[in-house]
Amino acid sequence: MSLVALGAGIAVLSGIGAGIGIGIATSGATDAIARQPEATGEINKTLLLGCALAESTAIYGLVVAIIIMFVL
């Protein structure tokens, strides 16, 4: 059981990448909004799309972890 739990924990490490990616994207978006406040709507839309795509790696990690916990 303990090794299985360890494997699930390692799978969830994929969240690190998503966290860094969303952080970089948000910093870029705040920069862009500060420079061009009138483009806020467009920037928000793109940011949300980028965050959703970046986040999916973390979600894959979560799903793999859950599969490991259930199947093994």
Partner: protein, 226 residues
């Protein structure tokens, strides 16, 4: 040990009741909650669509603004040629929004069941590919796999399967993740502490995922129609 057992119990999708036909057909809880959402939406339709007037009353003006906003949003993505797909996208949006928020009234969100999100993702990818075929014709659609360069074609074919997979897993994983964290919190600190977290995981995250699902479907359609 009891904590992990409780968590495992929450993770599996439960059977609500069994239809005593052909040796028993199990009906999942998510299906029953979906029926509830359908009844709720039909009720809303009956309330808001009855006796519409040419000069809108206050109630009608609110609805018109909301529907107009949704149409403008999708029209901005899809353009004129994708107008016919807007009602489907808006319907999926309403269903997803309500089902993600249904955790607030103590129901299990249907989107926590991977079968529901997989079904929605399959519907989405069928509509996405259909929109491409309808715009370009079958030949043009096949040809579009070899753009921009022919040797990228295997990747383009792979994308047909990856897109619904990622749509399905994103929605399922987000709702499930939020659900698990909320359940853990309720076990650890049942009083007052879960309220702010509930706002984030039930309301904000649910609505964001609704937006992302519908938005990505629209973007993929636009990409195939170009």
């Amino acid at each position: 040990m009891s904590l992990s057992e409780k968590l495992m119990e929450e993770l599996v999708s439960k059977t609500a009741f069994t239809i005593p036909l052909f040796g028993g057909i199990p009906v999942q809880e998510s299906v029953v909650v979906t029926w509830g959402i359908m009844a709720f939406v039909i009720l809303l339709c009956l309330i808001f669509v009855r006796n519409l007037k040419l000069v809108p009353t206050r109630k009608q003006a609110c609805i018109e603004t909301a529907v107009g906003g949704v149409y403008r949003f999708f029209h901005g993505i899809l353009g004129d040629e994708g107008k016919g797909y807007i009602p489907y996208l808006a319907t999926v949006g309403i269903y997803l929004g309500l089902s993600n928020l249904s955790g607030l009234v103590g129901l299990t969100p249907p989107t926590k069941d991977i079968n529901v999100t997989a079904g929605l993702a399959v519907m989405s990818i069928v509509l996405i590919e259909y929109s491409g075929i309808r715009k370009k014709g079958f030949k043009g659609f096949i040809k579009s796999f070899t753009e921009p360069v022919p040797f990228i074609a295997p990747l383009n074919v792979l994308e047909v399967f990856i897109r619904p997979l990622s749509l399905c897993m994103r929605l399922f994983g987000n709702i499930l993740g939020g659900f698990v964290i909320m359940e853990l919190l309720k076990i650890v600190a049942p009083i007052l502490v879960p309220i702010p977290f509930s706002f984030y995981f039930d309301v904000f995250d649910g609505l964001i995922q609704m937006y992302v699902f519908v938005f990505l479907t629209a973007i993929f359609m636009k990409e195939l129609m170009d």
